[in-house]
Symmetry: C2
Subunit: 243 residues, 2 copies
Amino acid sequence: MRFTSERHLADDILEREFTLGDIPGVLWTPAPAARPAPLILLGHPGGLRGMYPRLADRARHAAAEGYASATLELPGAGDRPRDAAADRARADLRRALAAGEPVTDDIVDRLVLPLVDRAVPEWRAALDALLDLPGIDGPVGYSGGVISIGVRLAAVEPRVKAAVLFAGSFVPRAVVEEARKVTVPLLVLLQWDDEHNDRGMALDLFDALGSPEKTLHANTGGHTGVPRFEADDANRFFARHLT
Amino acid sequence: MRFTSERHLADDILEREFTLGDIPGVLWTPAPAARPAPLILLGHPGGLRGMYPRLADRARHAAAEGYASATLELPGAGDRPRDAAADRARADLRRALAAGEPVTDDIVDRLVLPLVDRAVPEWRAALDALLDLPGIDGPVGYSGGVISIGVRLAAVEPRVKAAVLFAGSFVPRAVVEEARKVTVPLLVLLQWDDEHNDRGMALDLFDALGSPEKTLHANTGGHTGVPRFEADDANRFFARHLT
């Protein structure tokens, strides 16, 4: 992990861009405190540059409660090399949606599974590096982004102790099966009128998740309309489980 | 409204039992403050005596945030005269559940509609009396209890400005239609593994509610397993809408 830039934001938050191998990422740390800060991994749909304002906002909100936050560019997104097979699957998805046709399991599998297979080991490698830094320590939370990545990470990475998942994207059937293996506390956000998401499938995924303690927060509104108060709820969820 | 007893609880909360005509009720008011306290009506399934510990707990939790709370015995419950038709419908419901048979619309209608028809005017009359008391003023919130009563009250009573509903009982189809007329902000609690409740019907009711701002909190666990943190969430919901 190599830091490539650093700047101070308001409230004494330090924002550092880094590269992990050739993968860009960003780390936000709150004002130094007596104890190391627990870390929240900030998921996103890919494209760090476009997502930056929302990610920085979430990081500021987490820092106010003493958490460090970090994120990593996704495979095939932003400045990272495109993946021709994923691009083809994405084109097939758009075609199906535009034509009002059902999105087949085949399209979802081709779009999401290779992404999860590549991203999860990268985020775990980032964890290795991030938890070696002074001032940061476990436990680790994961929040938002592609829900299949969050599910796999929560299922396989023992350092992730709690996760906030956003039911806002297609989920391969294989990942629904993996969901049964997740045991950490979960807060699942669902936009009730999400134009990019099948509500019934999202509820089925919530049902499948194996965690004894899981909470669903569903709100009226579309994909990007998550109410502001859910950020406070997420902070309180992490406060219950990471501290 | 006639007060029949009063006592002081911890934290300077005043608990007063009253009768409204022949209907018993309880009023909890927080320590006197510069401004009149907003009022929360505490719904319950009927049987004030058995429900008292949980109701007093909710009232204490609300008083800590400056709210007065009040509740009223339901028609046919507690010491109020039994309703033979409702008792027959309840017996039919228990028989169907015990036999693993479907609960018909007819049973639900016979059990719930007369209760709603009687209870809602009583709670509105209680509001008239409660809001005349010194130290209490609107806006009014409604919380918990038989969800059909909460839906009807939110639909017809303009002084109710926000409601927390508990998706924990059967809902007549007529009430699902009334739900479309509700416009106040709602927080709906659903126990995901509720042994007394049909999850699909509860989600359909949430979908039908007409409020532009509505939030569903679903938690793992059975009917009485609502997590403690939901009481804090309810307080914050009321703080957003009643103050």
